[in-house]
Structure formats: structure tokens, C-alpha cells
């Protein structure tokens, strides 16, 4: 099976009401969890719970998965690897330079953007949905 043959067809759940309720529940959780004070035990628990839940689902009761391709085009894949490696290197060089004002890390740039609670809540929800998307793979 090639990458082209497994292109996702935008599969929709057969239970749209349940899906909507789940997203609303996740949004509520994201709102609460993203309002917890950083560097606190409660904030840690706020991210541990979804991590543990998705881990249990992934290995215990995985949902119907989108089939992974048996092989992918190495050249096409290498473009992604180059970008990810460059991003990591760019981030690492920020820490190496140890001057966040001159060479800010991605974290230092993103943190102020996600400080408002609605934005932080939305980002948390995106993180939760990304985790669910990974479990379905």
C-alpha cells in the first residue's frame, strides 16, 4: 500500500452527536486545564490525565485506525525530515547561544502568544485533538 493509496478520505464518525459531545467535553477540559497556574502540580496533572487516557486507549482499546502506508517515498519523506531537523537545530541553537532576547527559542516566542486564556484554551484543545488524531493512526 503506498502513501497515495492510503490518502485519508476525511472519514467521519458514524455518530456525529457523540462526536460533537466529545469535542465539547474536550473543550471544557481544555478551558479548565489551560487556566491552571504554570509550574504547579495541578497543571502537571492537567496534562498527565489526557496523556494517560490516550496511552490507555492507544494500547488498550484502540479505535478503528486509518491504515498506515506500508512504504512511503523516501525523497518526499526526506523533505519533512530536513524541516524537522532544521527546526530542532534552530531551537537548540537558541539555547546554546543563551541569549533569548537576541536568539529567542520557539517556546519564548509562542509563550506570550498563548497567554490569554481563550487562546491558551484553544491551543490546549488543538493539542488534545492532535493526540486523538495520533491515536487513530
Amino acid at each position: 500500500m503506498t502513501a497515495q493509496e492510503t490518502r485519508e478520505p476525511g472519514q467521519q464518525s458514524g455518530r456525529p452527536v457523540l462526536g460533537t459531545l466529545a469535542v465539547l467535553g474536550l473543550a471544557g477540559y481544555a478551558w479548565v486545564a489551560s487556566g491552571l497556574p504554570p509550574f504547579s502540580g495541578r497543571a502537571l496533572v492537567g496534562v498527565l490525565i489526557p496523556g494517560a487516557a490516550l496511552g490507555l486507549i492507544a494500547y488498550g482499546r484502540p479505535p478503528e485506525r486509518i491504515p498506515a502506508p506500508d512504504r512511503i517515498d523516501l525523497t518526499g519523506f526526506s523533505y519533512w525530515i530536513i524541516c524537522v531537523a532544521a527546526l530542532l537545530e534552530w531551537e537548540a541553537s537558541a539555547f546554546r547561544d543563551n541569549s533569548l532576547s537576541w536568539h529567542p527559542s520557539l517556546t519564548a516566542l509562542i509563550d506570550p502568544l498563548i497567554q490569554p486564556h481563550p487562546v491558551r484554551g484553544a491551543a490546549f484543545l488543538v493539542w488534545l485533538l492532535a493526540g486523538w488524531a495520533l491515536v487513530r493512526r
Binding site: R7, F39, S101, L106
Partner: protein, 66 residues
Amino acid sequence: MITRTITIAGFAALISVMFALEFMARRGSSRIPTAGQWLGYLMRSRTGRALVLLGWWWLGWHYFAR
């Protein structure tokens, strides 16, 4: 402050290229896999799945618990 500008431009360029790759990958004739496809490919093994999920969790911890 030109160093700061170059740094931000570097991040913006890399992220833009990744969006462009995803866009190109979703065209029918592309040989480039989508992010979902190559992540799914990496997650075929239990170890790969664990590492990818761990990376996802680390991102959440890094941005929302710290």
C-alpha cells in the same frame, strides 16, 4: 536586534515550508507524504507509536504545564 529578526524569520520560514509540504502532499499526484501518513508510518511499531505519543505529550507538558 537584527539577530532576533533573523531568528524569527528562520522559524517562520521553516514552519511555512512545513505547511507548504502538507499542502503539496494533499495534491493527488504528489510523492510527498502528508504529516499524518509519515507519522502513521513511524507508528506501525509499538516503539514508534510510544515515541510519537511521548513527543505529543512532551509538547503539551512543555507549553501548558511549564
